[in-house]
Amino acid sequence: MAEDITAMIRAAQAGDGRAFESLLQEHYEIIFRMAFKWCGNRADAEDITQNACIKLARNIETYKFEAAFTSWLYRLVINTAIDWKRQNKTHIALPEHADDTISTGDSSAEDKLQAREMLAQVMALPEKEKTALLLVFSEGLTHAEAAFAMGCKESTVSWYVHEARKKLGVKDDGKKKERRHG
C-alpha cells in the first residue's frame, strides 16, 4: 500500500495525470476530514478541500519524501485553510446540526451538549492552537508529525497544545499522555 502510494506520487511528480488522479481519489477523504474539523461545516470544508486539491496539483512535485505523505498533506490543507480563511474572513460557524456531526457514541444528551460547547471553544481558539490540538488529539499525530505539518518546532507544538488546554480550562489528570520533547 505504502509502496503503491509512493509509486503514485513519483509518477504524479513526473507528470502522469492518471497517477495524480488516483492519488487524489485516494486522499480526498483525508483532506476533506481535516478541512471539516478545521472549519466546522461542510460547505466551507468542501471549499477548502477543492482549493487544497488544486494546490496539490501545483505542488505535488515539491514533496520530497522527507515525511509521511499524509503529514505533508496535512500541512498543505492547513495552509490552504488559513489562506482560505484570510480570503473569506467569514465567520466560521459550528456545524448547524452539530448533533449529527459529533459522535459521542453511547453518551447521554448532556454529554453531547458538553461536547458541543467544548468544540465551540476549540473553534474559537487561535488558529495555531486549534490546529495543534486537532492534529494531536483528533488526528492522532505525534508532536513531531504535527510540527512538520505546521511547519514549526516540536516544542512549539507542545506549547500550543499546552496553551490551548489552559484556555479550555482542561486540567491535567495526572495520566499525561503527551510526551515532552525537547
Partner: protein, 779 residues
C-alpha cells in the same frame, strides 16, 4: 473537564461523508490545474543548455521584467555564423543575395495591390511557421526546437562551405549554385530553404512600410543594386563584406524578432498591408492551445428519470390534473446533442418542453385580468388509428410595449473554473449583453459572481449606464470553485435592497450545473428560494454547457422560484430567450397555472397525457391555492396534448372481469339522454394573477364540434402533434406504434406554417439528424 474528556471529544469529531459531486468536481479542477502546470513546466524549463536558456522580457500587463522567454538561437550560434560570415565575406555575400533573389516570388516586387496581398500571405505563412519557434504558449517541445535549430545551424554552415568551395572553383564573378539545404531531416526542416527568402522579404517590407504607405518601388531597387554589386565583385568586396555580415547576422538572429512577434501581436504583418489582409495565425495557435486547457466534463449530465404517462381508464380515473410547464431547456439540450450526432438520453427529452419551445398563434385574451383564452381542438391521432388527440392551447396576454413593468434584475453568474469553456462563460456574457438591450433605461441591473467566494461585481445600476455594466461583464473571467449557495444569498440580498413592489424583481442565474460547494442539501436551497419567492423575488435559470449539466436541480430551482428554466446552447438560443421572448421570460402574467381535464366516460374510454410527467398534480391539488404550479409569462403559448381512445375504440387496458366499473351502469342508462353526449371532456384552468394569492377559474367543454379532420387541422395543432410525436419517438416510442422519423418529417412539413424565424425548419433538420443518429446507433 479533564484531559481525557477533551481527547475523547476531539477524537470523536466525526466528519460527514464527503459529497460525491463535490469530490468529482474538485478532482476535475485539480486535474485541469495539473495539466496546465505540467504544460507550463515544460515550457519554462530552465537550464544551462544553449537552447533551454531563458531570457528576460518585459511584460506589458504587469509592467515587470520576467525571465520567461527562451532564446532559442543562442549567442554562441550567432557568434559562429558571424565568424564564418566575416571570413568568407565575398562568397557569403553573393550566396546570400542569390538565395534571396531566387526564393523571392518575383511578383512581390512589382508593386500593386494584389502583390501586396500575396506578400501578406507569404508573411502569414512564414509567420505561422515562425510561431512554431520558442516563445510561450507553444505546443512545440524543447526537443523539437533543439533539433530544428541544429538542422538550421547545419544548413547555414553547409551552405557556407559549399559556397566557399564553389567560389574558389569558379571565381568570384560566376553565379553560385543555389544553396542546397538538407531537407527531410525533420518535417520542419523542409521549411528551411523557403525561410531565408521570406525573412528578408519581411524585413525589407517592414522597412519599406515604415514610411507609412507601402512603396513597391523601394524593394524593387534592391535586387537591382545587388546584381550590380555582384557584377562589380572585387571592388565592392570591402563594403559587401560588411553587408554580408549584417545579412548573415540577421539570419542568425531571426528567431529573436520572432519570439517578440509572438509575445506581442505581430507588428510586421499588421504594418505591411493595412486593410489588405488581416493575418491572424498567432490567434489560431492560441485557440488551439487554450482548447486543451478548457474544462470539459463528459457524461455527467443529470436528468430526473420519469416514465411515460401510462394510459388511464376513464371509468376508473376520469380526472387528470397537471401543472403547466413553460420551460424550454429540454428542446435546446436535445438540439445540441443531435447536432453533435448523438441521440439525447431519454430522460433529457421532456415532450411538453419541446412542444412549448415553439410559438403558437392561439387567440390572445384581451385584458390583463383574464389573461388566458383556451383553444381546444380534437384531431385524429397520427400514430394510432381510431384514437384522437385533444389539443389544449393557451396563450398568455401579451403586454403592450408601454405597459412593461420596470425590472429589478440581479444577474447571478457562475464564474467558477468549470465555466472556462467557449460555450459557457463567453456565451453567458454575450447573453447578458443581449438581455441588456431588451431592458428599459430605468431598469436596474446588478451582477453577482460566484467562484470560490461570492462577490458583488456590480451594485444595482440603471440600464441607462450601460457602459459601466458592459465593462463589468467584459472583465469577468472563470476560475476557482463554485460557492453557489453563498452567491444566491448575496443575489437575493441585492434584489431585496432595491425591491420594488410594482416592478419585476428577479434573480437570473446563469450556470453550468452543480453547485459543488456550499450546499449541503439541495432541498435546503429549494426551500430558501421558495421563501424568497413568497417575498416577491423570482428566480430564472439559464443553464449552459454540457457534460456536467445538473438539469434536475436547475428545473427544481426555477420551479420553486417561479421562473423559467432555459438551456442556452448558442447565441441564437440566447437571442430567442432573452430578446425575442424577453417579455415572457421577464414578466409573469399569471402564476400557479394548473390544468384539470375531466373526461366523459360516455364518449372516452381511455386517455393518456403526453408529456408533463414531472408536472403531475393530484386531483385535490387543483383547488388548493397553496400548491405551487407553473407560471406563464407575457405572450407565452402553452400547449398540452391528450391521446384519447373513444368508446368502442381499440383499448390498451381491458375491463376488469370481476369489478364492473361503478360508473358504467349508470352510464348505460343515461347514455341515450345524456346531456353531455356531445362532450369529450371538460377543461378547467386555474391561475393566479402575479400579485394575488387566490386563484381564478376558466372552464370550457371539449366537444365533438371541436373535431377536425387531418386536412382541416390548423397548422399550430398539426405542428404541436408533430413535435409531440418526435418527442415520443425519441423517448422510445412506447405508445406510438409504427410512427417513424419520416412520419414526423411529413407531418411537420405539412404544418410548418409561416415560420418567420426558422425555428420550425430547424426542427425538421433535427428530426433528420435524429434519424441518421438512430440508424448509426442501430448498426
Amino acid at each position: 473537564m479533564d484531559d481525557r474528556q477533551l481527547e475523547r471529544i476531539l477524537k470523536n469529531i466525526e466528519s460527514p461523508v464527503p459529497d460525491g459531486n463535490a469530490k468529482k468536481r474538485a478532482v476535475n479542477l485539480a486535474l485541469v490545474e495539473f495539466d496546465k502546470h505540467q504544460k507550463e513546466k515544460a515550457e519554462k524549463r530552465q537550464g544551462f543548455s544553449l537552447f533551454g536558456r531563458l531570457t528576460d522580457s518585459s511584460d506589458k500587463n504587469t509592467r515587470r521584467t520576467v525571465m520567461q522567454r527562451r532564446l532559442v538561437y543562442g549567442g554562441m550560434a550567432t557568434a559562429m555564423v558571424v565568424v564564418l560570415a566575416a571570413t568568407m565575406s565575398v562568397t557569403q555575400q553573393t550566396a546570400t543575395f542569390t538565395k534571396g533573389a531566387e526564393l523571392k516570388p518575383a511578383p512581390a516586387y512589382t508593386g500593386g495591390g494584389n502583390d501586396f496581398s500575396s506578400i501578406a500571405t507569404n508573411i502569414q505563412t512564414s509567420q505561422s511557421w515562425f510561431s512554431g519557434w520558442g516563445g510561450k504558449a507553444k505546443e512545440q517541445r524543447m526537443a523539437q526546437n533543439e533539433s530544428v535549430s541544429q538542422t538550421y545551424a547545419k544548413a547555414v554552415e553547409e551552405s557556407n562551405k559549399q559556397n566557399v568551395e564553389k567560389a574558389i572553383n569558379s571565381g568570384a564573378s560566376s553565379l553560385p549554385v543555389p544553396v542546397s539545404t538538407p531537407t527531410g531531416k525533420l518535417s520542419v526542416g523542409e521549411n528551411q530553404p523557403a525561410d531565408d527568402g521570406r525573412v528578408m522579404e519581411r524585413e525589407e517590407i517592414a522597412s519599406a512600410d515604415s514610411a507609412a504607405a507601402p512603396k513597391p518601388s523601394m524593394p524593387m531597387q534592391e535586387p537591382a543594386k545587388k546584381s550590380e554589386m555582384r557584377a562589380r565583385g572585387d571592388l565592392q568586396a570591402q563594403v559587401a563584406g560588411g553587408r554580408a555580415y549584417t545579412e548573415a547576422d540577421r539570419l542568425a538572429r531571426q528567431k529573436m524578432p520572432e519570439t517578440k512577434a509572438m509575445a506581442s501581436p505581430p507588428p510586421a504583418s499588421v504594418a505591411i498591408a493595412p486593410g489588405v489582409i488581416a493575418p491572424q495565425p498567432p490567434i489560431v495557435m492560441n485557440d488551439e492551445e487554450m482548447g486543451q486547457n478548457y474544462y470539459k466534463d463528459v457524461g455527467r449530465d443529470k436528468f430526473e428519470h420519469v416514465d411515460d404517462n401510462p394510459p388511464k381508464v376513464v371509468s376508473a380515473e376520469p380526472v387528470s390534473t397537471f401543472s403547466i410547464d413553460v420551460d424550454t431547456s429540454s428542446y435546446s439540450f436535445m438540439r445540441r446533442q443531435l447536432n453533435e450526432g448523438v441521440l439525447p438520453q431519454k430522460d433529457a427529452v421532456r415532450i411538453e418542453e419541446m412542444v412549448n419551445y415553439f410559438d403558437y398563434d392561439y387567440p390572445v385574451a384581451d385584458t390583463k385580468e383574464a389573461p388566458f383564452k383556451p383553444t381546444v381542438a380534437v384531431e385524429p391521432c397520427p400514430w394510432k388509428a381510431g384514437d384522437k388527440l385533444i389539443h389544449i392551447g393557451i396563450k398568455g396576454y401579451d403586454l403592450p410595449a408601454g405597459e412593461h413593468p420596470h425590472s429589478n434584475l440581479v444577474f447571478l453568474l457562475d464564474t467558477s473554473g468549470s465555466m472556462n469553456s467557449p460555450d459557457k462563460l463567453p456565451l453567458v456574457i454575450q447573453s447578458m449583453k443581449l438581455l441588456l438591450d431588451s431592458l428599459q433605461p430605468d431598469d436596474t441591473v446588478a451582477i453577482v459572481t460566484y467562484a470560490g467566494n461570492a462577490g458583488t461585481a456590480l451594485e444595482p445600476t440603471a440600464v441607462r449606464d450601460k457602459a459601466r455594466i458592459l465593462s463589468v461583464l467584459e472583465n469577468l473571467g472563470a476560475g476557482g470553485s463554485t460557492a453557489g449557495a453563498e452567491g444566491i444569498r448575496q443575489a437575493y440580498n441585492l434584489a431585496e435592497s432595491h425591491f420594488d413592489k410594482k416592478s419585476v424583481n428577479r434573480v437570473i442565474l446563469a450556470t453550468d450545473g452543480d453547485f459543488n460547494v456550499g450546499i449541503t442539501d439541495p432541498n435546503e436551497l429549494k426551500s430558501y428560494i421558495e421563501r424568497e419567492r413568497k417575498t416577491g423575488i423570482f428566480l430564472s435559470v439559464l443553464s449552459f454547457g454540457e457534460g456536467n449539466l445538473n438539469d434536475q436541480l436547475m428545473q427544481d430551482l426555477a420551479q420553486n422560484g417561479n421562473g423559467v428554466a432555459a438551456y442556452i446552447d448558442n447565441l441564437n438560443e440566447a437571442r430567442k430567450v432573452l430578446v425575442k421572448e424577453a417579455t415572457s421570460t421577464l414578466f409573469p402574467i399569471a402564476k400557479d397555472v394548473k390544468i384539470q381535464v375531466e373526461f366523459n366516460p360516455a364518449t372516452v374510454a381511455e386517455y393518456r397525457l403526453i408529456g408533463y410527467e414531472s408536472r403531475h398534480l393530484n386531483r385535490e391539488d387543483f383547488n388548493n391555492d397553496k400548491i405551487d404550479a407553473g407560471d406563464v409569462g407575457a405572450g407565452k403559448a402553452v400547449t398540452a396534448l391528450y391521446e384519447i381512445t373513444p368508446v368502442g375504440g381499440q383499448r390498451l387496458v381491458d375491463d376488469s372481469r370481476y369489478q364492473k366499473p361503478l360508473a358504467t351502469e349508470a352510464l348505460d342508462k343515461s347514455k341515450s339522454d345524456n346531456a353531455f353526449s356531445g362532450e369529450y371532456a371538460f377543461l378547467k384552468i386555474r391561475y393566479k394573477l402575479p400579485d394575488e394569492d387566490t386563484s381564478k377559474l376558466i372552464t370550457t367543454p371539449i366537444t365533438t364540434s371541436d373535431d377536425r379532420t387531418l386536412e382541416s387541422v390548423s397548422d399550430d395543432t398539426g405542428w404541436a402533434t408533430a413535435v409531440a410525436g418526435f418527442g415520443q419517438v425519441l423517448r422510445g416510442g412506447k405508445y406510438t406504434g409504427e410512427f417513424t422519423y419520416d412520419d414526423v418529417i411529413n407531418l411537420a412539413q405539412a404544418h410548418k406554417g409561416k415560420d418567420e424565424y426558422g425555428y420550425r425548419s430547424e426542427f425538421i433538420q433535427l428530426v433528420r439528424l435524429a434519424k441518421s443518429a438512430a440508424a448509426i446507433q442501430k448498426n
